[in-house]
């Protein structure tokens, strides 16, 4: 049996990792959302932040009242044309890296105001780039937490490293786009092996 090259060769309580992983781990565990409720979806967002669902379990409970300190903009509620320029301005005020969740049917695509609403923007992605869409009217807090975890996936795939190309230029390594998945635990039935080679012999 081959021994690991570097792992396990240090004294106890000594971890090694890459800078990229460490920074991504710190970032995804401390996403600070901006207090940004526009309509009824904000009630569900508040419920997500409150004790029953407790968004702080994922490090995203520190709702900031200013875009300067926020990483994540949860656009919760109907975006009107009057509000659209403000949404854009607030997004521009946020420091990089910044992420946007479009929460609710109105922000995803206009919702019930799509056809004849004279005052509603038909989707907040017409105003700011959206990372995760959370549909629902309004979405359950579990759905918003799911959206938050997808943002965390996106942060985990962020690449800080740069590489030198064959021509000598330094270029950024592209981010790993996360594969959409559902992280819920599914119990898989243990099956009896059919063939001899499927048996785990150790």
């Amino acid at each position: 049996m081959t021994s690991p090259w570097i792992e396990g060769r240090f004294e106890e309580n000594f971890l090694i990792t890459t800078v990229e992983q460490a920074i991504n781990w710190a970032r995804q565990a401390s996403i600070w959302p901006m207090t940004f409720g526009l309509a009824c979806c904000a009630i569900e967002m508040m419920a997500t932040g409150a004790s029953r669902f407790d968004m702080d379990r994922f490090g995203a409970g520190a709702f900031r009242a200013t875009p300067r300190q926020a990483d994540l903009m949860i656009v919760a509620g109907t975006v009107t044309y009057k509000m659209a320029s403000r949404v854009r301005r607030l997004y521009n005020l946020m420091p990089e890296p910044k992420f946007v969740i479009a929460m609710g049917a109105c922000t995803v695509g206009g919702g019930p105001y799509f056809k004849w609403g004279y005052h509603v923007v038909k989707g907040v992605d017409l105003v700011v780039p959206v990372d995760v869409y959370v549909p629902g009217c309004p979405p359950r807090p579990e759905a918003l937490l799911e959206g938050l975890m997808r943002i965390q996936d996106k942060i985990r795939g962020h690449r800080i490293a740069k590489r030198v190309t064959s021509s000598g230029d330094v270029e950024k390594v592209e981010d790993e786009v996360p594969v959409p998945h559902h992280s819920g635990y599914v119990a898989v039935e243990e099956k009896q092996p059919v063939f001899h080679h499927q048996k785990i012999t150790g």
Partner: protein, 165 residues
């Protein structure tokens, strides 16, 4: 609720005002010319120091209605716990009303909203701009003759594309 002596005192000063009562709530119909003097009297002599709301009703297609718009002022006297509703009827060509901002500064945004939604101009208002709808909007959408499908305003806004986002 309003005390009888308040209503009697008001009607003694302005005998031409109509008033009615419904479930303990008193409504006084004030002609447009009398509005500033009635406000002044109610605020200074009867203690109506709080303007709760300014709103409007469009009586288009309303049965037995004789006027197009009914402007509504909800007043309250915080010391005596009295409430009074003022109603001022307006008709289409001339929709200008004196502003209540000199009497209650809180009327500022309320009148802006009525202007935004019903298109009633308040003369003497310090800053009569649209408050809820975008500046480029041209219509007054809470009027009953505003079509449910809009007048094409939604097509007139600058088109935002996903590439600009």
């Amino acid at each position: 609720m309003i005390r009888p002596e308040t209503l009697d005192g008001l009607l003694r000063l302005f005998p031409q005002l109509e008033h009615s009562e419904f479930r303990g709530q008193t409504r006084v119909v004030v002609p447009r010319e009398l509005l500033p003097s009635v406000w002044q009297t109610l605020r200074d002599e009867f203690g109506f120091d709080l303007l709760i709301d300014v709103t409007c009703v469009d009586y288009l297609h309303y049965r037995k209605a004789r006027h197009r718009f009914g402007l509504v002022y909800l007043l309250a006297a915080t010391a005596t716990n009295e409430r009074l509703t003022l109603r001022c009827y307006l008709d289409e060509p001339d929709l200008a009303v004196p502003s209540a901002v000199p009497y209650w500064p809180g009327a500022n945004w309320l009148e802006r909203e009525v202007w935004d939604m019903f298109g009633i101009t308040f003369t003497g208002h310090p800053d009569l701009r649209r408050i809820l709808l975008p500046e480029a909007f041209t219509a007054h959408p809470l009027r009953k003759d505003y079509p449910l499908q809009g007048r094409g305003e939604r097509h007139n806004f600058p088109v935002l594309t996903r590439a600009q986002g």
